[in-house]
Structures are given as structure tokens and as C-alpha cells.
């Protein structure tokens, strides 16, 4: 009896989990399906789920109307560049706070986090004006800069937590073994922090890739990443559902693939320290 009850419970929770998973996934699925429909079918009521006239014409139009590769390249440069610079700044910052903390370390960490509590729109005007003055509007470097600054507190916090998990003894052993601070960082600390570094990097990439507020406000064409590319399909002339879906599918595809292949690393990194 007990065995049967357990089997049934497992079955119920499996079905429940699949349902929840499907519910979360549904909007993405719907978007992908819509991208293969004609504009008319895309908002037809009742909606057709699978039995419609499958077409690739939206993708052709999207590619013809705007240069997907140009925007994708911008996204890669902006997300990749901001992540790289953020890590370069955050690794030494987190390292020093984790291994030689002072009385003020906690305050500094909190102050960093507090900058994330302010809504970005609160500083839009000053930032816009600064960017205008320095000629950074619609430039890749400008976007790299703002996304890097925006995500830096989170990156430092994450790395700080990972570094804190590394036993001090090991670093002292490295010092006894004759490692300088630089070599300690290269040979001991960084390899031990790789799961943490990887998940921080991935998370930051995803955040930067999906960031829409600053990219929409500070770029138009030259530096515009995929977020701007999607938004351009919601225009005053009307909403082109099928084309918008095609553009969105194209925009999320790279990060979705990246996330899929690195999910193990991502989950391990996010739960790092939770289980010893």
C-alpha cells in the first residue's frame, strides 16, 4: 500500500512539474509558433495551435528590412564586453574584500547594492546628457560602459560570496609555497573559483543581453543591439505580431542556446556554497 501511495505521489508531482514547466515555457513556444504564421493567422481568434500555414516569410522580411547580423554582433560586443570589463574590475575588488576585509567592507558592499535599488529611469536624464556631451550616444562603447556599471554591484557581490567560501588555509599554503599575490590569484584562487566565476559570467551575459532600458534609450541604429531590433517591430504604424515574433525568436536564440548548454554550470554556480 505504502509503495503504491508513493508511486502515485511521484506520478502526480511529475505531472505537476511538467505542467508548471510547460506553463513557464508556453509564451516562448507561442512566440516561436507565431513567427511561422502569417500576420493574419498570428492574431486570429480562435488561435490555431499547430494546424496553420507554416511559412518562413517573416524571417525573410525581418532579414530584408533590418540587418539581424549587425544587431546580433552589437549584442555580442555589448554583452561580452561589459561582462569582461565587469569581471576584470570585480575579481580584484571581491578578492580584496573577501580576504582582507576591513571594518568598512560590509558598508561598501551595502553601498554597492544600494545603487541597484534606485530605478534606472531616475538617472536617465543626467546620463543621457552626459552621453550626449561626450558623444557616447548610439555608440557601442557607451553601452558597454553603462551595462558594465549597472551590473558591477551584482558581479562583485556574487564573486565576493564565492571567494568567501575558499578556505584561507589554502591561500596561506600557497603563500608558504612561494606564490606571490598575482600567482596565487592565477594558480590557486581563480581555478578554485571557476564554478563561481562561470556562473557569474553567464548570469551577467544574460542580464546584459536582455537589458532593454539603457540600450533602447541610448542607441538608435549604429550601436543598437537585438533588444532595439525587436522593439523596432512595435512601431507607430502598428504591431506586426508575426514579424515581431520572428525578430524575438532570432534575438533570444543565441542566449537560449548558451543557457541550455551551460545549465549545469549555471545551477551549480547559483547553489555554490549552499551544499558543501
Amino acid at each position: 500500500m505504502a509503495r503504491m501511495a508513493t508511486t502515485r505521489r511521484v506520478a502526480v508531482s511529475t505531472i505537476g512539474a511538467w505542467l508548471a514547466g510547460f506553463l513557464i515555457f508556453f509564451p516562448i513556444l507561442w512566440m516561436v509558433l507565431a513567427s511561422f504564421k502569417t500576420e493574419l493567422e498570428a492574431f486570429a481568434i480562435p488561435p490555431s495551435f499547430l494546424f496553420f500555414h507554416w511559412t518562413l516569410e517573416n524571417y525573410a522580411t525581418v532579414q530584408e528590412r533590418s540587418d539581424y547580423l549587425h544587431h546580433a554582433m552589437n549584442s555580442i560586443i555589448i554583452a561580452g564586453g561589459s561582462t569582461l570589463i565587469a569581471l576584470l574590475i570585480a575579481i580584484p575588488a571581491a578578492w580584496s574584500m573577501a580576504f582582507s576585509p576591513t571594518k568598512r567592507t560590509k558598508d561598501i558592499l551595502l553601498w554597492m547594492l544600494s545603487t541597484k535599488m534606485m530605478p534606472p529611469v531616475g538617472v536617465l536624464v543626467p546620463i543621457y546628457l552626459i552621453y550626449k556631451t561626450f558623444g557616447l550616444l548610439d555608440s557601442r562603447i557607451g553601452l558597454v560602459f553603462i551595462l558594465c556599471l549597472g551590473n558591477l554591484p551584482i558581479v562583485i557581490w556574487m564573486l565576493f560570496t564565492y571567494f568567501k567560501e575558499i578556505p584561507r588555509d589554502i591561500l596561506e599554503a600557497a603563500r608558504m609555497d612561494g606564490a606571490t599575490i598575482g600567482r596565487e590569484l592565477v594558480y590557486v584562487l581563480t581555478p578554485m573559483a571557476i564554478p563561481g566565476l562561470a556562473s557569474t559570467m553567464l548570469l551577467n551575459l544574460i542580464l546584459a543581453w536582455n537589458e532593454a532600458f539603457w540600450t533602447l534609450n541610448l542607441s538608435t541604429l549604429h550601436a543598437a543591439p537585438l533588444t532595439t531590433f525587436i522593439a523596432s517591430y512595435s512601431s507607430p504604424e502598428g504591431l506586426f505580431w508575426a514579424k515581431l515574433s520572428a525578430a524575438s525568436t532570432l534575438a533570444i536564440a543565441p542566449i537560449l542556446v548558451l543557457g541550455w548548454f551551460s545549465q549545469k554550470q549555471l545551477v551549480r554556480g547559483l547553489t555554490f556554497g549552499a551544499v558543501k
Binding site: A173, A174, M176, D177, G178
Partner: protein, 335 residues
Amino acid sequence: MGQITLQGVQKAFGPVHIIKGADLDIADGSFVVFVGPSGCGKTTLLRLIAGLEDVTDGRILIDGKNVVAVPPAKRGLSMVFQSYALYPHMSVRGNIGFGLKMAGLAKDEINSKVEAAAATLNLTPYLDRKPRELSGGQRQRVAIGRAIVREPKAFLFDEPLSNLDAALRVQMRLEVTRLQKQLGTTAIYVTHDQVEAMTMADKIVVLNGGKIEQYGSPLELYERPNNLFVAGFIGSPKMNFVTGEQAAQQGAVTIGVRPEHLKIERGGAGGWSGTISVAEHLGSDTFLYVDAGPLGMLTVRYIGELSLSAGDRVSLTPEPNRVHRFDGSGNAIRA
């Protein structure tokens, strides 16, 4: 060469004085154990010698050279940590060879030295494993391998065996002692376990509250403790202390007699008599806890089996030349 001298070494963390002035002379090739209760400063003193902490005052000489301003790696010492502190992402080979790699040795040279060290420690079959694939004892051996491969002037051991189970601890104790004798390298070993101290050391430093209470060979400490603290700390079971009239008769404020130096007889005559409250029969020894009225609880160790049990009346006689006398401030009165 590995002669280490401490001259007036002090360490304070803010207003807290951890080491209140330590003077010590450690001869080349000797095995010195720092022992004391937890918080006595023994680990801090070791870390000062290692260079992992800076001294507040005083000088540390290694082979006659003051090293207080020299970074840890340049002092020519190697350390074995309580937690082993192995690099988890490196193989055993990488762990043992890391120090040599940092010193800029050629790959071939590193390999041959690592393999020699591994052979000494029976680690050859495990050279390509990661630390997580090893048992506690094997990990400890890797940590020791990492220390010996650099051919240091001295080894520093920070409670290296306290994470091992009792049987393995005894085995590793022997291995460490044997290895040190074989290499002839100076060793400083920190432990809170006075049995480890007695069995391994050429000389013991007893620390208490940041001060060196006594420095001497294990038997010197056992036979001629300088004060009440050392007398009570060295030896197991603990020395019995008696105050009052019995002590005054011998011209002391406190007298101490080790459990093995009390002669026991059935029946309750004489000044030192009492009732057995607990009897422990180990076969090789018999430990008796005797309630001796005004003298307090006395522990008696009898070598061999003694068929006495709780409730029996006994009389105790201390061996006359084995009574330690202490004055009012706890210092030993020498005849």
C-alpha cells in the same frame, strides 16, 4: 641548517596581547613541540615563525638572520596545516610540486623530486588523483609531501593529526617522527595533546596565556615541572595536588604527586586514606579515584591489575622523592 631563535617576540591584535614575549632557542635538527590549552597562543607563535603573521615586537632569527621582515616563502620553511589545505583542483603531483613550480625549477627536476617525495610517503600510486579521491590519512601525507619536497630549513606542523581518527593518529605520529629523524630537519609541531607532545618531542615548549611556562625535554618536564601549570598539564592522568596541613608539613603551599607515584594498600590507616569511588580496570593498568576526605579526590595509577572496587577503604603513601613542592605563587620549590 635550521636553527631558530626567538628573542622577545610579542604579538598583539589591537589591545589583546596574544604572545607576551617569547624567548626560545631551537637547535638544528631537533623536534620541538609547542603544547598548551586552546587559546594559549601556540598556533599564533607558529604563524609568527612562518611569517603568516607579523610580529609586534622582537626578533626571529633563522640561522642567525633576523627574518621578521622576510615574506613567508623566503624564510625557507614549510608548513603542514590542520585542514591539510591541499589545492583541490590540482592532482597529488601538482600539489606536491606547486612550491617547486613557484620556485621556477625545471619540469624534469620537479617531477623527479615529487616522485622521490611520493615514494618516501607511499603515495606513488595516487600521484594522478585529486585530493577529494583520497582518504584523510592520504591527504595528510600529501600535505607532508608538499612540505618535504622543498627541502626546507624547518617544518612547521599546525595540529596536523587532529582531524584523523585515533588509530590513524597513532600511526601517523610514528610516521612523522620517523620521517623527521630520517631527514634530520628541524621541526616545530603544535598540538594540544600532551601525549603527542611527550611521545614525539625532543623538547617541549609549554605555553599558557601567551607565555612560555617551561622549555625542556619531555622527561625534564615530567620530573621537574617549573610550576603548577606545567605539573598539571604534563602527565596523564593529571598530577594530584594537595594543599593545607599536609603541604605545610613539607614546607610548601601545594604539593603534587603523580598518580603512578602513590603506593596503595588495603585498609584505612595513615594520614592519606580514603574510599575508592570509581575503579577503572584496563588490564595493563588500574586507575582508582579515591575520595580522601580533606585531601580531596586523588587519582591512583597502579601498573597491572589490582582487585579493588568502589567502596573499598585504602591508604595511600606518596613515594618520598617523587613529591613536588610549590610555593604560594605556584612556582616549584627545589630542594
